[in-house]
Symmetry: C2
DNA sequence: ACCTGAACACCGTTCAAGT
DNA sequence: ACCTGAACACCGTTCAAGT
């Protein structure tokens, strides 16, 4: 950055467009991103982006790929940072997801704006999502093995449910639903963490007959 | 329908535009709705809709109002239909929501397309949402009173969590995430009902010391 | 009071032509 | 190989003018 001269060939137009699209999404939301405006921000003509992306969706998908990479890393780090019990690691994954959505609302919005991206044509995006999903399910199985979650429940069902909860919570926050649910302004993070903690409590085995 | 003559004044253009917008949303998704195309479907000129709606968002919001009315009615009916225990009524609410989202995907998409509607300026929409929320919270309190849900948990927190789960599940289905979560095609309804049932099981008081 | 239709400032996308 | 810039078919929105 700064070393690139203004050549006729931009040098790294693709990335510049992805950056521009993200900047626009942060200001205006995903639906406010226009290819033309991204081109302007990158200092190229209106047709130039179509050398690098077949269409607008492909550009948005590239932003989503970057975003899902970030999320994946954050989740993986959170798992390593708190490895005392699987039950705690599970909560850490959920918290990492919620915090990431809070810290990077534009990324979160794009990832979940299924009408703006082409998830099927993006192996990177799919594998990023899968990675988080697998991390969750593995941790749930570990929690069942350590006895903190009842092994009678299906691990796949539990991870589907957890994901639905966490995603739903993040969306409710970003869409501004929380005030209607009795959450005071400024208290959103705590409320979501509490809701997550509640789910984890509900999942916790009541009769502590486990080996751990 | 049929009785209206083709007058210069359309007669009920407002409703015709709402219907047209919904039809377009069903075909193309909420983001595919254009005011001009809705006007065409209603047989009026491109400027006419702006006599009835200040802007596109207002039109989409009107569709969302209609949708939330439907949902509210469905949820209320479901509660009355299965009134044996509060725990069962709670599950019925969740199932009504999931089934409504399945049966009316266009409505569900518009209601949850927060970037396309103006929820703040619509009392009807807000009260529709509030009604479902209150119904849920009341039923949770009733379940706590009957002893099927532990009264130690906060009812507001529980209803926030339930809503996040149910909303998250409906979204995952509509956005086509379920295959990645091990749900076979055609099995989506059952999988979502199972996930909901799982949540309800988790919420159920383990030590059955309740009076019911 | 309600609708038309031209006008304006935008889009996404294509494609010959330039370097 | 990569970008320009005109062109095309769309938008949302406004507003004089019509009925």
């Amino acid at each position: 950055m700064g070393t690139e001269r203004e050549t006729y060939h931009h040098g790294n137009l693709r990335q510049a467009l992805v950056d521009a699209a993200l900047a626009l999404a942060a200001r205006l939301g995903p639906e406010g991103v226009s290819v033309r405006e991204a081109a302007r921000l990158a200092g190229v003509s209106s047709g130039a982006p179509f050398r690098h992306f077949p269409n607008r969706r492909a550009l948005m998908t590239a932003v989503a790929e970057e975003a899902s990479g970030h999320l994946r890393i954050k989740v993986q780090r959170s798992v390593r940072a708190s490895d005392r019990t699987a039950h705690r690691r599970l909560q850490a994954i959920g918290r990492a997801y919620l915090r990431w959505a809070e810290d990077h609302p534009a990324h979160f919005r794009i990832i979940s704006a299924r009408d703006q991206i082409d998830i099927d044509t993006s192996p990177g995006l799919q594998s990023g999502i899968q990675a988080v999903r697998e991390q969750t399910e593995e941790t749930i199985r570990a929690a069942q093995a350590e006895g903190s979650v009842d092994g009678a429940w299906d691990a796949g069902q539990l991870s589907l449910l957890s994901r639905a909860c966490v995603y739903g919570l993040a969306r409710m926050r970003i869409d501004g639903h929380l005030p209607q649910w009795g959450v005071a302004p400024g208290d959103e993070s705590r409320a979501l963490d509490d809701a997550l903690a509640l789910l984890l409590q509900l999942m916790r085995k009541q009769d502590q007959a486990g080996p751990a």
